[in-house]
Amino acid sequence: MSVWIAVLATALGCYALKFAGLVAPQSVLDDPRVRRFTELVPVALLTALIAVQAFADGRSLEFDPARIAGLGAAVAALLLRAPFLVVLGIAAATTAGLRLLGA
């Protein structure tokens, strides 16, 4: 049940932010630091999430070779300018392939 509460709270919070931006006074954007902060926060949070999902299991740090190789393959695909879904497919296939081989 509590997962439901988290799902609904997240939905409500996300909607409130979208709505607030659309109706907020335009003068908020005049401060360059506000602009800068809102531009960079997603970079920080998303990178942190990638790092944690790649190298942590709950509270312990771990190194799962198949998972890291999958992300490495994703980086290679991105460097080759592959489309979004192709990047995801290559990452999952690499990880799955290595696990099949017993990595």
Partner: protein
């Protein structure tokens, strides 16, 4: 004479711009919308039910926050921290709304619905257009296409993942981080400030992971932005 000619010239490109905006919207909407497949599969892999995955896509409707919440839940993290982190990630949509308010100029009954579709992709298409009319056309085309595609593919991904034996064996656990990486890639390679912020954020999150409840290190990583702001202030 000159005025008439200019008006005539402006009319033709404006129509073209509008069709181009609609084409942009359809392309982005379908290409990104179908990645709801990855979200649906990852959500069920993380332990959500099919209904929970679908409600998130219908009501939260912002990919990064949705992946963030299921990432924390899948990692056994606290639900409060997970929700807070996800909502914090949705903060950039508020900035998009600020930027788009004047362009879209919505009032009345359409405002609450328009607010719901202020996300990365609709903003990207709208801000790429040369005039207001095509910006609006691009915005709403992207919005409708991506909303339908994202929700249908979330359902398909969630149901499909439920029929799969061991999700890890298929490498589905790598979909979340790979999706974030792909979404972030243009920003990470765009400038040194972004790369520095990213590295610092990853370091903060990993260093505090053994010490704090899951979900909190990701939120804490927002402090990695502060040095970039201070540096800006000094140079200004």
């Amino acid at each position: 004479m000159a005025n008439t000619r200019r008006d005539g010239d402006a009319a033709a490109p404006s129509g073209d711009a509008r069709s181009a905006a609609i084409r942009d919207g359809l392309g982005v909407g379908v290409a990104v919308g179908v990645s709801g497949l990855a979200f649906g599969a990852a959500a069920v892999t993380a332990g959500l039910t099919v209904a929970q995955a679908c409600v998130l896509s219908l009501l939260a409707f912002t990919g990064a926050s949705q992946f963030a919440l299921i990432g924390v839940i899948g990692g056994g993290g606290g639900l409060v921290a997970g929700s807070l982190g996800a909502v914090l990630l949705g903060g950039r949509n508020a900035l998009y709304g600020l930027r788009l308010a004047r362009t879209l100029d919505v009032r009345g009954a359409r405002l609450p619905l328009t607010a719901h579709v202020v996300i990365d992709e609709t903003t990207a298409v709208a801000t790429a257009q040369p005039d207001k009319a095509s910006a609006r056309a691009g915005f709403y085309t992207t919005a409708i296409t991506i909303y339908v595609a994202w929700n249908l593919t979330t359902l398909a991904g969630a149901v499909g993942a439920g029929r799969i034996g061991d999700p890890d064996a298929l490498g589905l656990d790598v979909l979340g981080p790979a999706a974030f990486l792909a979404l972030l890639w243009p920003r990470l390679t765009a400038g040194r400030t972004e790369a520095r912020v990213a590295l610092a954020a990853a370091a903060v999150a990993l260093a505090t992971t053994p010490l704090l409840p899951p979900g909190v290190p990701v939120m804490l990583a927002a402090v990695a932005v502060l040095p970039a702001l201070l540096r800006r202030e000094e140079s200004a």
